[in-house]
């Protein structure tokens, strides 16, 4: 995407009949911050009955938005139908079980294609690359002395996944943004813990146009 962007240099078009020279660029680049809340949930592992339920968490980080122009000769820059947004986020995804709540501190890098249905509203879709940085508690213990204990070493969870993300985003000219997304988990938390984590999230943020 960067190569695509860099290969398209800005150029100036002028009309000898106009008093003013209009400069058209192929895209607008915006950078900003965003943050919000998420609700994560996961399926019950095949071999265990942990009583998995969803729970609320949060996420926040930086975003880089590229909004392309449709036709360089008659549309202003950054007003086309297509765009791409790349983010670098820290996300806390939480789950409930029969005993302890599981808190997973994760990184998430969504790479989303945007289709603008109106100048401010876009449908977003693409992969989110994610992984677990740390987990609390380190060990999940269930059972009793009578029924025997089940101990899961959660500190070893890597949770690498490529989630399928789909959502909508609102981008105001002032720079204010808001988005709502659904991330579908694609990989099990661990080889012997067959459960995929999905989440729904809402965020608000602010983007500064740095190239237009």
């Amino acid at each position: 995407m960067c190569a695509l962007m860099l290969s398209m240099g800005a150029w100036a078009q002028s009309s000898s009949d106009d008093e003013f020279t209009t400069i058209k660029r192929p895209l607008t680049i915006s950078v900003g911050v965003k943050g919000g809340a998420n609700y994560s949930f996961a399926g019950e592992p095949k071999a265990f009955d942990l009583g998995m339920k969803g729970n609320v968490g949060f996420q926040g980080g930086v975003a880089v938005n590229l909004h392309f122009s449709d036709k360089l000769d008659y549309t202003p820059s950054g007003t086309g139908r297509w765009g791409v947004q790349v983010e670098g986020l820290f996300a806390q995804r939480n789950l409930k079980t029969n005993t302890d709540d599981i808190k997973m501190s994760c990184f998430a890098v969504p790479v989303l294609a945007q289709f603008y249905v109106s100048p401010s509203l876009a449908i977003e879709a693409g992969p989110t690359f994610t992984g677990v940085l740390s987990t609390s508690p380190k060990e999940l213990v269930q059972g009793s002395a009578e029924t025997g204990f089940l101990k899961l070493g959660l500190d070893k969870i890597k949770g690498f996944d490529i989630m399928a993300t789909v959502g909508v985003g609102y981008y105001h000219d002032s720079g204010f943004t808001a988005s709502a997304r659904f991330n579908l988990g694609n990989s099990n938390l661990a080889g012997n813990l067959e459960s995929k984590v999905s989440s729904a999230e809402v965020s608000v943020g602010y983007l500064f146009k740095i190239f237009k």
């Binding site: 029924t147 025997g148 996944d161 661990a190 080889g191």
Partner: protein, 339 residues
């Protein structure tokens, strides 16, 4: 446009792929209740040969009411007394071996006094994979034919004959094995129907009273299996006794009645009308020999019977008529060979 299409195509295939994450440490010590059912239907129903020619004189052979082994078994009860004078029960043994081949459940025997179709019991086991083994034998209290040896490890666990090789009508044995997975989310029901291992042999001798000096008749073999390995993956299930090539390892020894006493002192004479017995063959292939013992000359030279592959759960027959000493019969039991 083309770079965009290419980009989205790559993204699509990335989405299709999933990451293989490493295993985490899991210690599963949960205990599950397992319902175990052992069906007895195939234990002895196959041993149903009936000798239609010879009728039992109840006065002479008080032990048995019928010449049909299946009838004898089915009518047994806690009041039934074997030849040794002991009450007979059916011993149902269930063993669970974990992935490491270690025996997990210790109390494995259930004794039932009256024949029934099935035995149910509940066993508590940790979650995991197991090899379940069920064994059915008749237990004659002080005169057991089968001993469960080296049972702590599946690779060494075996049923071994207790001293004597041929046993009796009560020596039949049935066995079943099954791989099971016990877990919190599983049904945890195990049902096994042990099938016969080994065969019964019905022996019938007639007209031997014509030689008053014959005191006993023996069936011998040089291929006697003394142990049956319980591991279903064991390459050698039958452990044959090392006889050093001797043909005189007896499976069955019939003593004729004598007067006044059964001593090989040359003074007794022996008589016995037609008489019969049962013994048990475990070896998958059997080489059998007859020999009889008489006062004076002693043991006869062994008379070889045709070698035979033994099918589990069948009734074989040995039939020997003194007037046809050179033509004994050994094969599947039927009523087509009587003289």
């Amino acid at each position: 446009m083309k770079p965009l299409v290419c980009f989205f195509t790559i993204l699509f295939f990335i989405l299709l792929s999933s990451c293989g994450n490493e295993d985490i440490d899991i210690i599963d010590e949960r205990i599950c209740s397992v319902d175990v059912t052992v069906n007895l239907t195939d234990f002895f129903s196959c041993y149903n040969f009936v000798d239609t020619k010879h009728h039992l004189d109840l006065e002479k052979n008080k032990r048995f009411k019928s010449l049909n082994a299946a009838d004898i078994y089915e009518s047994f009860s806690s009041f039934y007394v074997s030849g040794s004078g002991n009450r007979v029960t059916i011993e149902v043994r269930v063993l669970f071996y974990n992935d490491s081949g270690q025996l997990v459940n210790k109390n494995e025997s259930v004794f039932i006094s009256d024949y029934s179709d099935r035995v149910n019991q509940t066993i508590k086991l940790p979650t995991g994979r197991y090899t379940a083994i069920a064994i059915l034998t008749f237990d004659d209290a002080d005169n057991r034919h089968w001993l469960l040896n080296d049972k702590e490890n599946l690779s060494t666990a075996c049923l071994a004959t207790n001293g004597g090789s041929g046993g009796s009508i009560w020596s039949i044995m049935s066995y079943a094995s099954q791989e099971v997975v016990i877990g919190e989310k599983n049904e945890n029901k195990v049902q096994m129907t042990p099938a016969p291992v080994g065969a019964l042999c019905y022996v019938y001798y007639q007209n031997f009273q014509e030689n008053k000096r014959i005191a006993s008749i023996r069936v011998c073999s040089d291929t006697i299996a003394q142990r049956f390995m319980l591991d279903p993956n064991s390459q050698n299930r039958y452990i044959i006794k090392d006889t050093g090539g001797s043909k005189f390892n007896w499976l069955n020894n019939m003593l004729l009645e004598s007067t006044p006493k059964l001593y090989f002192d040359g003074t007794a004479t022996y008589f016995q009308d037609d008489f019969f017995d049962y013994f048990y063959i475990l070896a998958p292939r059997c080489n059998l020999y007859f020999s009889y013992y008489q006062n004076g000359p002693g043991r006869s030279e062994p008379i070889e019977l045709p070698a035979c592959d033994i099918e589990n759960g069948r009734t074989y027959m040995i039939y020997w008529d003194y007037n046809h000493l050179d033509n004994p019969y050994f094969g599947l039991a039927d009523n087509d060979h009587w003289y």
